[in-house]
């Protein structure tokens, strides 16, 4: 492998590992906040027990999320000094503001966890809200840098020099809101379905209608409702994201859909694999005219095909599959949530069919896979550029060689961290069961559950 491929793989591995923790780290505080609010509203202390257990899981995940985030931030300048030189001049604001979001999250997370028994309930809610805002803020801001890479704004290049820098124009680049919105909404979806997964699994493991079963059912319904709402919003926003691609990065949309010839009434290809030689998507289900409609809300919309671009500008064609995986899982999640809510609220059934339960067990891992596919799609789909049509990935990379050894070390550390985090989570929740927490809460009365440590 040449150094560029290693540099990309190395950063890609860091990001792939980090975003699992980052995404859940945005989604979970929101769930904790919902749990706390449900508790304040219903005075059903089971919700407080939920919030407490999620907080514990969140604290453990932060132990990996924070250092891997630090790695990602620093690796940017270690591996992509050429890129960061441009970003530093033009697009430093989101990084800078992100720091404040980090601080808010870190300060109030400690207060929520370690000072819980010394602050009034309303301050707990305020602290938690600030943690959620901090987490969301850092995700939105860092995604803004990604948005800028696709739709750069706020500067010009003249004779190789960066001129006319307008940092706020760069900050509010065209795709900021839609891209950041997509990441935020999908993080809430993922956080909720990860909770739903565990709740569904526990329901299958416990006797039907036992105390624990009912506890987990409460968690399941709360998370499925939240997850369903956000999955739907993610899809609506995703539609807009695709229209932005049509407008700003047409070759990315063309590669996502395996479209070679520019045409109106363009078909939408679902599934299959793009074949470069025959210029078609093999084994795909084609929906006539649909792509044109999706891209511009009209069948007459002309969608530009890959052949209109020089081949060296083509993104890798496998992104079609990633795009399909992301959209497919997203749709499945909406369906699952709708079905579960329909079953429980309209049919007023107390139990769910086994098949639905098992699908719900897999909803968490599936949503993480969707997130991963989405990110890989978004970043490889921008290739060969780091800043669209302005800076190539090759020009961004470090000139230092021998990255292979470093890459190996990072992989080893990620494997250690992944194993350790799983072990610690299993260890903790095996020794501190829901039953213990419920008994503790019952025995000591409601105020005692105000400690999160």
């Amino acid at each position: 492998m040449d150094d560029l491929v290693i540099a990309r793989s190395m950063f890609g591995t860091t990001m792939a590992f980090h975003i699992i923790f980052a995404t859940i780290g945005v989604g979970l505080p929101f769930m904790i906040l919902m749990g706390e609010l449900m508790y304040q509203k219903t005075k059903d202390f089971q919700y407080a027990v939920m919030a407490k257990r999620w907080t514990k899981a969140f604290a453990v995940l932060l132990g990996v999320g924070i250092p891997t985030g630090t790695i990602a931030g620093v690796q940017l300048s270690l591996l992509w000094p050429g890129f960061m030189e441009v970003i530093g001049r033009v697009m430093a604001l989101p990084f800078q503001i992100e720091i404040y979001a980090f601080f808010i999250e870190a300060l109030f997370m400690s207060i929520y966890v370690y000072a819980a028994d010394r602050i009034p309930p309303w301050m707990r809610i305020v602290s938690l809200t600030l943690v959620a805002i901090g987490a969301l803020g850092s995700a939105v801001l860092i995604t803004n840098v990604h948005a800028f890479e696709g739709t750069p704004a706020g500067f010009r290049i003249e004779n190789g020099e960066i001129v006319d820098v307008d940092p706020w124009k760069a900050f509010f680049n065209p795709s900021f809101f839609v891209t950041a919105g997509h990441v935020a909404l999908s993080a809430y979806t993922t956080g909720a379905f990860v909770v739903a997964s565990i709740a569904a699994f526990k329901m299958l493991k416990n006797t039907v209608d036992s105390k624990l079963y009912l506890f987990h059912k409460k968690a399941l319904l709360l998370s499925v409702v939240i997850g369903g709402i956000f999955a739907l919003l993610t899809a609506l926003n995703g539609h807009e994201s695709a229209q932005y691609l049509h407008k700003y990065q047409p070759e990315k949309l063309a590669a996502a859909e395996g479209l070679f010839e520019t045409q109106t009434h363009a078909p939408l290809a679902i599934g299959g694999f793009t074949d470069k030689e025959t210029q078609e998507v093999k084994w795909a289900i084609e929906i006539p005219w649909a792509l044109s409609f999706l891209a511009g809300n009209s069948f007459d919309t002309k969608v530009i095909g890959l052949n209109d671009f020089p081949e060296e500008w083509w993104p890798p064609l496998f992104i079609h599959t990633l795009f399909n995986v992301m959209v497919g899982i997203g749709s499945l999640l909406i369906l699952l949530a709708a079905l579960t809510i329909f079953w429980s609220k309209w049919l007023e059934k107390k139990h769910f069919p086994k098949l639905l339960m098992w699908l719900l067990v897999f909803s968490g891992p599936l949503s993480v896979i969707a997130i991963e596919s989405g990110w890989i799609f978004a970043c490889t789909g921008r290739q060969p550029w780091t800043i669209y049509r302005i800076l190539s990935t090759a020009d961004s990379a470090t000139t230092a060689g021998n990255l292979g050894v470093l890459f190996t070390f990072f992989i080893i550390v990620y494997v250690i961290l992944a194993a350790a985090v799983l072990f610690v989570l299993l260890y903790y929740f095996k020794r501190n069961t829901v039953e213990d927490d419920l008994l503790k809460a019952e025995a000591k009365g409601i105020p005692s559950i105000s400690t999160n440590t």
Binding site: I66, P67, T68, T70, Y100, I111, I119, P167, T399, A400
Partner: protein, 345 residues
């Protein structure tokens, strides 16, 4: 004052804040490891009580520092990113292990010891690597060619100057953290722990001072330019040493006085912070205008003026928003007896 100078002051401010907070953080982790078997003294307990709520905040400062470098000096970020690839990556790997295992050690009680050892040892190696960035920027170990720069690791790790810095980093980490913890245990009313940390500070303090002299001695040989410029501020350096002596007196009072004084660690903490502030000011000023000697200066690496003004505005806004948060945080964990004097559960 030019924008670049203001930016370099802000940056150096971040470096200083992070170094003080990080030494306390890494040091506290190390002490909690050292005293893990002496449960009765409460020394480990005190270290953890300080560490648990603060490590995340401290970690945010290193991100703030890196972001400050590339947002204010993107030109220098290019060179720094290239030459620091290997040391920077090692720092990141250790930092990841350290933070993760620190968190895990509080969750998985049965494995507390091994987890604390891993994070404690990783934590004490980190200051050594972090401070190496300074001698690297002196330029002796960087090989500049037309379009690229490489770091000569062999030359770096065979230089006495590098080892003087490493020795200084480790001894300062132990010194500052034991000093802080002695104050923290005194306000917490943990007298046994206070005696232990006070003794540690008395041992590590003089060692760190000797290391500082060794840095100057080796700098004279290896990077004479910065040595000469530092000596221009000799009065400030002497003042810095005086602060060290004040701190020493504040700690040694019980040994001399006849009434039952316990020493005033709070004064020592303030004096030593001042000591390091003065010394780092002198060093930082002497380092200017170079970021990486002799090719990268604060002017050559400086960002676009529009960007700088926007960033500076966010610094002010951010500080205004965060300040109450920091105050509240301080009250909750450094100033609240309900937290400080909580008995081990």
């Amino acid at each position: 004052m030019s924008d670049a100078i203001i930016a370099s002051i802000v940056l150096w401010g971040f470096v200083f804040i992070y170094s003080v907070m990080a030494t306390m953080d890494f040091g506290a982790g190390f002490w909690s490891m050292v005293y893990i078997n002496r449960t009765k003294t409460g020394a480990t307990n005190i270290a953890n009580r300080y560490l648990s709520p603060t490590w995340e905040v401290t970690n945010t400062f290193i991100v703030a520092l890196v972001v400050a470098v590339y947002s204010m000096f993107p030109g220098a970020a290019y060179t720094l990113g290239t030459i620091l690839l290997i040391p920077g990556s090692i720092i990141l790997l250790l930092l990841a292990l350290r933070s993760a295992f620190l968190v895990f050690s509080h969750i998985a009680e049965e494995y507390k010891k091994i987890l604390t050892y891993i994070s404690g040892i990783a934590g004490i190696l980190l200051p050594a690597l972090l401070i190496s960035v300074l001698p690297i920027t002196h330029g002796n170990y960087v090989f500049f060619t037309e379009n690229s720069q490489t770091l000569d690791l062999v030359k770096l790790f065979t230089s006495p100057n590098e080892y003087a810095f490493i020795g200084f980093a480790i001894s300062s980490t132990l010194f500052l953290s034991s000093l802080l913890l002695s104050d923290y245990s005194k306000v917490s009313g943990e007298l046994e722990a206070y005696r232990i940390y006070r003794k540690d500070a008395m041992i590590t303090g003089p060692i760190s001072l000797v290391m500082a002299f060794l840095i100057m001695l080796t700098l004279k040989q290896e990077a004479n330019w910065i040595y000469e410029k530092m000596m221009n501020d000799l009065p400030l350096l002497i003042l810095s040493v005086i602060c060290f002596i004040i701190a020493g007196v504040a700690l040694y009072i019980p040994n001399f006085s006849k009434n039952k004084s316990m020493g005033i660690p709070r004064v020592a903490v303030v004096a030593v912070t001042l000591q390091y502030l003065l010394a780092s000011f002198v060093y930082g000023r002497a380092h200017l205008p170079y970021m990486v000697y002799p090719h990268v200066t604060i002017e050559s690496g400086f960002t676009d003026p529009n960007s700088f003004h926007a960033i500076f505005a966010t610094y002010i806004a951010g500080f205004a928003i965060l300040f109450p948060g920091f105050i509240y945080f301080w009250k909750m964990f450094m100033h609240d007896n309900r937290y400080l004097q909580k008995k081990q559960q």
